[in-house]
Amino acid sequence: MTSHLIIGLNVAGIAAMKAIREIEPGGRIVAVSAEAQLPYSRVLLPRYLGGKTTPESMLLEPAEFYEVRGTRVFWGRRVVSLDAAQRRAVLDDGETIDFDRALIAAGARPTVPRDLAGPGVTGLRTGEDAAFIRERVRGGARVAIAGGGPVGVKTACALAELGVRPALIVASGRILSQIADNEAAFLAQRCLEQRGVEVRLGADIVRAVRGPGGLEGLELGDGAALPCGLLVVCKGVTPNVAGLPPAVQGRSGVAVDDTMATRVPGLYAAGDVAEARDLLDGQPRVTAIFPGAAAQGRIAGKNMAGATAVFEGSIPRNALDLPGLPLISIGRVGAPLDARHAVRVTRTTGSYRKLVYRDGLLIGALLVGEVMDAGLLQACIRRNLAGLLAAGEPGQLMGEAG
């Protein structure tokens, strides 16, 4: 019987586990999970910070899911090296695991600039991070959040609802610069400010100022000083590739084809660690989103178990549930002002909708307030982008939305 190894157990690893079990009931699956607790939904961490959910409600699967015949999980252990030729993984305590096929589902970690790292500075990726932030906030620390992307915005919002009045420090000229245009960003920013978030646009953090008691504040690019005892850095993620054979590595993560296979036979990758094909331009790229990790994990699992499944490609997309103001961004939401692109905008009281077309084909949608059509639009965008790629007419990179 084939033995499968899954490295990292969250959205992607779990999806693969399910797919393998479906094809090979009772098949041999060994998973190594660096985190000791049952896998939970990271998307809910901001909610947890805001006291709006419990650890139990955050679990991706109940405990029984991991206690199935044929499955064994090494909790709180880490794969430190992977020998592709020998098909052998070495764990942090020296134990070895032999496998026929392995899935790299090690995800990613927050990117924290080296000059900021240190006491009082954290990302938000794990339950531990969230517990640390909660403890500091309870202790009365003033909080700053670096990064105006979806995670930074959600974190700021959650902390504001605790009455904390965090500062959100954003390098670009608007929040959500990768997923929203000026108008949508303005609506979202107003929503944050009404909740008590202090938004600072176009602001760079030059230096973290530390004293004997730890972090005391930040020095910003314009010379301003921002006193704070805690900085949460939400400036994107870095794939966890340590210990992996160089042959599997892509630009930043693990390069995969449409079957989620890496360049090394027997090794697959899925989720936030994987560089899969982006439908916007056909290039491999990490699109670190939950539904992508689930779909890729399932496809990897199927292929590992001998079935044939093909990933249809990633579309960058995000759903943001700001209080009273849902915002969904799909595909390319900023368009160059040229003859091939067109934009249609509709506004009503409380809603904003922008559709982006290339050569008359819908390739992006930005919905604020009224989001019910998002799924229908995504299906259409998906078809169009796949069609453009097949015709050798890929779109371009998203860049900053215009």
């Binding site: 909610r47 969904i328 019910m372």
Partner: protein, 169 residues
């Protein structure tokens, strides 16, 4: 329950399905054990031809289940349907973004009803054998397909990717 076949081109927007769904949910409250009594769990956007039937197809590989961050949406193997557990739904709109049929409906009653459920969707009429919308549909736009409980037909539907034969456009 039997699977649902949806054919939007056959729909004339008469709205009987909506009435049957909403009313049936009151009358059969016990049998359906519905979290949404008195509310239609589908929508017809129309009448522009063909009308859009926003009704859950109970996909075998369901994008909404894939994306559900709170384990609120699950495939129920016993009934072969996609179920939403309102008590786990956090209202993140991820499922709304993923469903290609637009079948996850932000609750128009959200915030006002006793159960503050952000999203509503077809519950497959619970254990009730005949989907109410299909029974009420005079044109065959929504059909209860032949009972698909046998393993082979379930496998066939799985291969087809969707529960029921959903024709689009």
């Amino acid at each position: 329950m039997p699977s649902l076949g949806v054919s939007e081109s056959a729909c004339d927007s008469c709205g009987r399905c909506l009435v049957a769904c909403a009313a049936g949910r009151v009358v059969l409250a016990g049998a359906l054990d519905s979290a949404w009594p008195g509310q239609a769990l589908l929508r017809i956007d129309g009448p522009a031809p063909p009308p859009r039937i926003r009704l859950c197809r109970h996909c075998a590989t369901a994008p909404c289940v894939d994306t559900c961050v709170g384990r609120a949406l699950r495939r129920d193997q016993a009934s072969d349907t996609v179920k939403l557990d309102p008590s786990r739904c956090v209202g993140c709109y991820s499922c709304v973004m993923e469903c290609p049929f637009g079948a996850l409906l932000p609750n128009p009653d959200g915030g006002r009803s006793a159960r503050d459920v952000p999203i509503v969707k077809c519950d497959g009429c619970g254990q009730f054998a005949h989907p109410l919308c299909a029974a009420a549909c005079p044109t065959g736009a929504i059909r209860a397909a032949a009972d698909g409980r046998s393993a082979s037909s379930r496998a066939r539907r799985r291969r087809a990717g969707l529960l029921g034969r959903a024709r689009r456009g």
